[in-house]
Symmetry: D2
Subunit: 302 residues, 4 copies
């Protein structure tokens, strides 16, 4: 069904989830709990918050390359609680062009706010035997998705991301048809660091393995006021619904990492490049579920 | 047919069209004609030229609103040789997301180079009785299309352009279906100056009138070394081939101009807003054809 | 003394402050505590962290306008624990062009990383009788300072910021001399929202009042995994050292807020504009000190 | 004297230099000569022109490295009329942070419009025995200076440019004092292509040789409507006045070219790096003077 763009956002929803008010009214005066908001900046009504509360809807165009990484290098990126699983060294490089909106869809009428590009790496892993993916690195080109990534434990940084757009008319691009080629490129701090290319040859209904499992993130944020034990990282899984895939165009992939992001990133460079995939993808992100609290469990080890 | 991405560009083609060499070989030495190129920067082989020679292919996604402007204001933007024609005051505001490439398609593998956004205004007019469109203002968000606009006489400036992308999965955007809403926004020098919105209700094969006529531009460039009579503007029409339209989704339009670009621009603000259209469009641009040399004709008037 | 740019950063310092390792070695293997870092992204050595740990050094050029805001509007932005103080309604709008670096100065050799622009608003307030300033809104034009703001409880968002540079030669700008004019402009989401201008007439050693008191921020971050009582905001003061002011050029100020950021922001628009100041400023930021935990104290109220 | 910011620009000046009107009034009506302007876009009053007519004032901060290039490579970038001169292979890499304004200074109150960054290469050469410099490549980060470069025959393209700012307070940067280090970096299309660094040790009044000679540019623009003989490149020198240097801080330089801009650019990579210089520079640019018309002279060769 076509997305309906509702009227002005119902702010009561935001106030309900705001910090420090516990649902009380926000009119200033004696006894006021002060400014509120789902996130900074706090303000009298909460309307100034940079982030809106979930759920957030996403509709994206994906160019993705499966590849293999040194299994030992991948393991060094897995926090306690995550294991390499059945296919150690399986990885993927994912370019995506997104639109997003909050529950009420308000952002959709301002295309400068609801669009962003993303590049991320996924590593195959398991949590208690369940296949998952770990995202060691991600970059986006807008501030709101970057900050929202950190709320989820997703390590989004700022990069410049470009990705081919399939065309349906004219000669300036490939169609989604056998032989069509689609490229992605990531630059960070003015240096090209990743290039990917997919040449598709067939369409399938089978989603790429690493795009069809939950993501396990580490929820942690630097401590400004030092506490006794340091920050307390927690392993969480993102809870999504309404996952939707278009037909998946699949073919050969190409993937190059360039120098410039350091040895840790470089250790995840491709040893072997597999298939490439081009598809559209939608989901709704609702929040996080705790998988484990690994610093606590570490401390309790005998 | 799917676009084939050929190998490295055949530079001999560029050298052939380069300046000042008349096809001679470009090896330096006594009698060398110096650096060459289709445009600045000139270099020994011509490979450094910022612009490639036409033809250029374009594939774009268009969000367009028909509107009416004060016919007297429109007339003041028409150079000698162009007349208001049968429908004075007919105008359009056009947002487009483009991919482009040169004849050999080389730019398509670098999505950061082959993509740009554009906003332009079109005014209905006639040249010797033939319906045409005049583009008094245009903005793009990349340097190469801006400079290439001036080569054609198209007054492209630099702006920040955003435009909704239709989606096929998920809830973060409208589908190309009845009720779908698509927005465009232009900011110039940090100020929002135009917003447009189209809500589509039906599909048609009839291209919007002002997107289906040739553009008449004024070829003129500031004189750095003063000549006797000042620069000599020439009226030209762009020569295009391989025009291709997708089905056109049509419905109601909305269009707002904001202050900030001066009175001349403001005089073209909408008096009445008509239909809106969303479609894909392809063309190949080959060069320009002289319509008239109006400063010369002016001077020859008795 | 001139800043010395030392060799490669001593990573042991970062590891010491990293999360989840408690100083243990980070070589992967059985029993490894997993990837580490001062912030996301975590990685085997910690070198991938987007943020470096404090202290951070800052050297900036400031264009600042004192103004008066509706005291009731200002009070609605003060969290529990902060009072309007002796001069309710005193406010300032501050543009700054910064360079920053970590303790080892590594960022200074990459000018694309160590520079950013900032605009912020300051409101006069008191904590337990001590004069402080509250920053209800701030914008920066780089990702690292934005994220680092949230680590401190400073509500930095992303904006486009421009500010005049004093000149010492040529005619394209003002000198720091009587009659010199210096402007600042903030755009957010493609809309101009603040413009300021200062025309200086004299030099003084007296720092502007609101630039010479500690900032009191609210440390709070959205909860991804819901806890019982919601996020627990804490009032903190930034701890700085090595504060250094250049001579302060002072004169008349001008300040305009434009629509577009909502009613909460609009409530802080200037009722009256005071002096303007242009100066250079340096400081070192070490961390945060807890002022109070207001959600807890709220809950404990009878 | 401090720059005075006058009131609204006197448009009559622009109309005087506008195209195609020869000073006639621009009121529309029968016999009107149509829209006018110093450059595109033409409009009824000329106020919409992207470029203002010269003179243009410039005040800049320069970080410059002298270096030596293969003399044969340099010669291949010299057009007919220019000779390598007394010091073939002398070259310089110049980073600059500029403010600029038109004669009336109007742009200075909008710091987003009057500022830009630039990187350019200079090659030593001579015209009829007079020492000059040839600029084979230049990049800027704003559209107006890019287009204005082409008006002058200066091959400005679009790049991302960063350059250290000397500081006077705080620890986040070097002071202009012995041991101070200042860096510049150029990225083009998301790839780092040049890095420079200067460590100063002394101050002098002697301007760097290649920053103290006229620039010889080739005035040429692609032909949209083919003429018989192709475009007619002309060798011009820029005419400047009010040249002003600050004291020049001089020391050792460092300069690195990276791959990514092709072999022609690569041929100008440093064989040897000389001194580095940091200084402020002002000038006023008035127009161009014809040195020779080399395609014509070529044609007349026997």
């Amino acid at each position: 069904m076509v997305r309906q763009h509702a009227g002005p956002r119902d702010r009561s929803e935001i106030v309900t989830t705001s910090t420090g008010t516990n649902g009380r009214h926000t009119v200033a005066g004696p006894g006021s709990a002060g400014p509120v908001g789902y996130s900074l900046p706090l303000s009298p009504t909460g309307e100034s918050a940079m982030l809106t509360p979930p759920p957030w809807h996403f509709s994206g165009e994906v160019v993705m390359v499966d590849y293999r990484v040194d299994p030992d290098a991948a393991r060094r990126f897995l926090p306690p609680g995550l294991e390499p699983g059945a296919d150690p060294g399986a990885a993927a490089a994912v370019f995506a062009t997104w639109q997003w909106c909050s529950q009420d869809g308000a952002e959709l009428t301002d295309p400068g706010r609801c669009q962003f590009g993303e590049f991320l790496i996924l590593l195959s892993c398991e949590f208690e035997g369940r296949p998952m993916a770990r995202c060691p690195y991600a970059w986006v080109d807008q501030a709101v998705p970057m900050m929202r990534g950190w709320v989820q434990g997703m390590p989004k940084q700022f990069g410049v991301i470009h990705q081919s757009r399939p065309v349906t008319v004219g000669k300036a691009g490939s169609r989604l048809a056998p032989g069509g080629r689609f490229d992605g490129a990531l630059s960070v701090h003015g240096r090209r660091v990743v290039e990917a290319s997919v040449t598709v040859d067939r369409s399938t209904d089978q989603p790429p393995a690493l795009h069809d499992v939950p993501l396990a993130h580490t929820l942690v944020f630097p401590e400004w006021v030092p506490s006794g034990g340091g920050p307390r990282p927690r392993l969480v899984a993102s809870e999504v619904s309404d996952v939707e895939f278009s037909p998946i165009w699949t073919g050969s992939g190409d993937l190059t990492f360039f120098d410039g992001l350091g040895d840790d990133f470089g250790a995840l460079a491709p040893l072997e490049v597999g298939s490439g995939h081009v598809f559209s993808y939608g989901e709704t992100l609702h929040g996080g579920r705790l998988l484990s609290d690994y610093s606590v469990s570490e401390r309790h080890q005998p």
